[in-house]
Symmetry: D2
Subunit: 108 residues, 4 copies
Amino acid sequence: MTEPLDVAKLQCRLAEFAAARNWQPYHTPKNLVAALSVEASELVEIFQWLTPEESMRVMDDPDTAHRVTDEVADVLAYLLQLCEVLEIDPLAALDAKIDRNERRFPAP
Amino acid sequence: MTEPLDVAKLQCRLAEFAAARNWQPYHTPKNLVAALSVEASELVEIFQWLTPEESMRVMDDPDTAHRVTDEVADVLAYLLQLCEVLEIDPLAALDAKIDRNERRFPAP
Amino acid sequence: MTEPLDVAKLQCRLAEFAAARNWQPYHTPKNLVAALSVEASELVEIFQWLTPEESMRVMDDPDTAHRVTDEVADVLAYLLQLCEVLEIDPLAALDAKIDRNERRFPAP
Amino acid sequence: MTEPLDVAKLQCRLAEFAAARNWQPYHTPKNLVAALSVEASELVEIFQWLTPEESMRVMDDPDTAHRVTDEVADVLAYLLQLCEVLEIDPLAALDAKIDRNERRFPAP
């Protein structure tokens, strides 16, 4: 039986993967944010010529669904590696941000 | 005592936040990937004129550390909302991607 | 009587502007492409929640029209500075690219 | 003898190219800014793992020089098409922006 996935476990896998290939010298925060933005744009590329309605149906086509899932994984990979290098807890950061947004944009 | 944070719980908070403000009509996959890429670029903006060495010390300054953490939260917020709308499990997507990358880039 | 604007004249103005402020050390190709992508995203930010129809009317509102024009200028500024540093002729590059695209995507 | 290239002539070529392929319906301002940001990121991708020093030598390798020039052309193509659709004069926009920047950042 496998244990459930969590962010810390994936960060470990990513760190081991990079270490085994000696990629850490490339993983400066500056390079990781550039790579993150490049992967985010690869996600945009899939959607750039679609209408809003077509964009809601991207998962209907198995090939496009696979591409989207793959790019989501790449964005998350660089985000988690950035957080590891900068010692940021991404889930705590988001939880705190939602708290601030609830004060900043009060619900009607 | 609060329970530990996890991705599903944050996705719930984000969905409730958007629903309370009637923001769901704006949250098409096309718009969410655009917003994700914009937030990724706001992270790049913090680093754009820094040397690689300076980029490694961004967390030493409390104001910059706060900005970086805030932008990380924004990127994660849009990524999780996109995954919710498209019914993608981001952690499973990344786990599967690391498996594929291990075959694609064998460790030396 | 002023002479018509051209790309070379604007590249001169940009180079003098940067030199007068000692900004050239920051203007590595790597940093300039990052800045270019950040400015392109600031343009995306203006459009991210608009419908396709609303996006066609952005110039009707003078404030938004000014913002869009300003971001277009920023994108062009970094593109021309990158071309200057790398000795690329941007108009010749585009002309050659349209030639290639005409062969790659023959008109029906 | 061919006349010198200028922005207006390239905008004409781009408009004819799109019209001949019936691509105008895709060329909403919202889609064009997305495509512009995707092309800017493809430029970033070439530089993402390079040191500042390596980034200054990208034109030494003919293949990389070709890739960089090609992406510069793509960025310019979408910028000029956006300007055409929104009736923005890109050179005048940049000239006005440099004027404003000279007042905003006085030279020392």
